[in-house]
Subunit: 320 residues, 2 copies
């Protein structure tokens, strides 16, 4: 410790001065503090962490901060973590920063727990994190050691019911092409449609508004009679609205549109988006709560309480 030598005192005295501890005269305290400031001394967070034990830092793995869903979610995670005095290390694995697994590789050595949209790789993530808590959101079939997933069957049912109630018969579902052959949502929608005895058209596009816009134009070119469109998420639904407008279809008169997620964007587009909404802040809060309980040992990885299932709510606005 350089400051100790410069001030002619012991390291312990410097510690006392920097942390405002008792057992030091105010004269030396100020002298040491000023000297520290002059020398640009900053206590090493590593040494501090080593001796003081865990200051918790939470890893947050996000597929794409550019998609407004994720900041909405991240916002509540950060808020909730901040309240607990944790800090949050964010990794965005979009834009060529690799896969979710790369994000976990980067985060694992740096954090005490992990929360994230990791898609298929959740078990690898648990392996890399060892005994440390991992909360996977929107995990695919099967249980995660800890996780939150969504009851898409229920949500899809709500949406299809709505379309039917409106008398819509030619329904299409626009899926994301991100995960493997079909997304979790995709299979749920297909199942719900089959259950309701409906035949629906399924198309996929990249998870962005422009891609959805283009894809919708394609759908309409092939299937002109579509009068209901369910979309993978609200961002793509916003693009879909544009695509319908491009093709001269009026929403909701010619074609109803229902999105998923319930992000604030839905209220800003025209017509305002009917959507299967989640309580986004509740999702973040639940994720951090899970981590907290896993850390404290209040609940155990793999147990029933470590897996939450949240339901969507159909928020009716203008588009359907």
């Amino acid at each position: 410790m350089d400051v100790a030598a410069a001030a002619g005192v012991s390291r312990q005295t410097v510690t006392r001065a920097m942390n405002d501890m008792p057992g030091i005269s105010s004269a030396t305290r100020e002298r040491v503090q000023q000297l520290a400031a002059e020398l640009g001394y900053t206590p090493s967070r590593f040494a501090k962490g080593l001796v003081q034990g865990a200051r918790i830092s939470l890893g947050l793995a996000i597929p794409d901060l550019t998609n407004p869903y994720f900041p909405a979610f991240a916002s509540s995670v950060v808020e909730e973590a901040t309240q607990r005095g944790w800090n949050v290390v964010v990794d965005d694995f979009g834009h060529g920063s690799g896969s979710g697994l790369d994000a976990v590789t980067r985060l694992a050595p740096q954090v005490d727990a992990l929360v994230g949209y990791l898609g298929e790789r959740s078990s690898d993530a648990q392996t890399m994190m060892g005994r440390r808590p991992v909360v996977v959101l929107d995990y695919p079939a099967g249980r995660a050691a800890g996780g939150i997933c969504f009851d898409y069957s229920y949500g899809a049912g709500l949406a299809l019911e709505r379309f039917q109630a409106e008398g819509r018969r030619r329904i299409a579902y626009l899926d994301s092409d991100q995960e493997g052959p079909a997304t979790t949502r995709g299979v749920a929608v297909a199942a719900a449609a089959a259950g309701a005895g409906m035949e629906i058209i399924v198309r996929r596009s990249a998870d962005s508004a422009p891609a959805a816009r283009d894809e919708v134009r394609g759908i309409l070119a092939e299937h002109g009679g579509i009068d209901g469109l369910l979309v993978f998420n609200d961002l793509m639904a916003a693009g879909a609205l544009k695509g319908l407008h491009d093709a001269g279809r009026a929403v909701p008169e010619d074609c109803g549109v229902i999105g998923m997620d319930g992000i604030p964007l839905g209220e800003l587009v025209t017509p305002e988006l009917t959507t299967l909404a989640l309580d986004l802040r509740a999702v973040g809060r639940s994720a951090v709560d899970l981590v907290d309980n896993l850390l404290s040992g209040a609940i155990h990885p793999g147990s029933a309480e470590a897996n939450l299932v949240l339901k969507h709510q159909l928020v009716l606005r203008q588009s359907a």
Copy 2:
């Protein structure tokens, strides 16, 4: 180190096994690795950091992740930092998590450099960070030790010119009520208007779409003849579009609207938003570049190169 005892080897051997270093038989390596996995052993990041020296972590202080501008910016910061092998600790000081200064207080002990929208408190931030680099975005009058700011006078000029070219005469500016008596943007707009010999109406609202929507209804109630509206940012501009629609004003026919920032949201609203756009990824990239150069000593805090001024570009879409 528990694993060392359990495996009956020395700590050094464990180190060699965990880090795939030479000088160890593959038999012992695997035995140690498996034992480590069973015991749930995770190397302490603190001890590692202490002995190996700095793994850089970058603090990112964000006023409100809920406002789509900030994730757009954060996304490029995270991407750029990830490329350098840094990790990013995010703090959102919206939603009652205090002020920017609170965020800095939380981040300062944990990071090697700081980037953020800190508003007025940038000098306090530098004090808390000592010699470590601080890059302040959108700092108010006066220079920051390191920072990026925007030439709002230039941008405001572009917008007002556009309104004039369209023959619009009754211009209003909707400001944010976040910072003190008037925002940096507010004074720039006022100055640009005065320079152009224009008289403009200035109103303020909270920095959110619903607040802007309400405020715009208020403006129209008082000043019905408004035919041009410049707005603090794109999010508020999106709300303003809704407000104009509520009041039965057609955009751009009855009233033109120009936003600021150039976030992707602008292309999803109807009509699509004409805006003073920034290259958002360039902003993030520049911020991280600055930090990098400050860390390496290539440029010095307070020097001319440590302060960047970026200009807006008027992107014409439908709203003006």
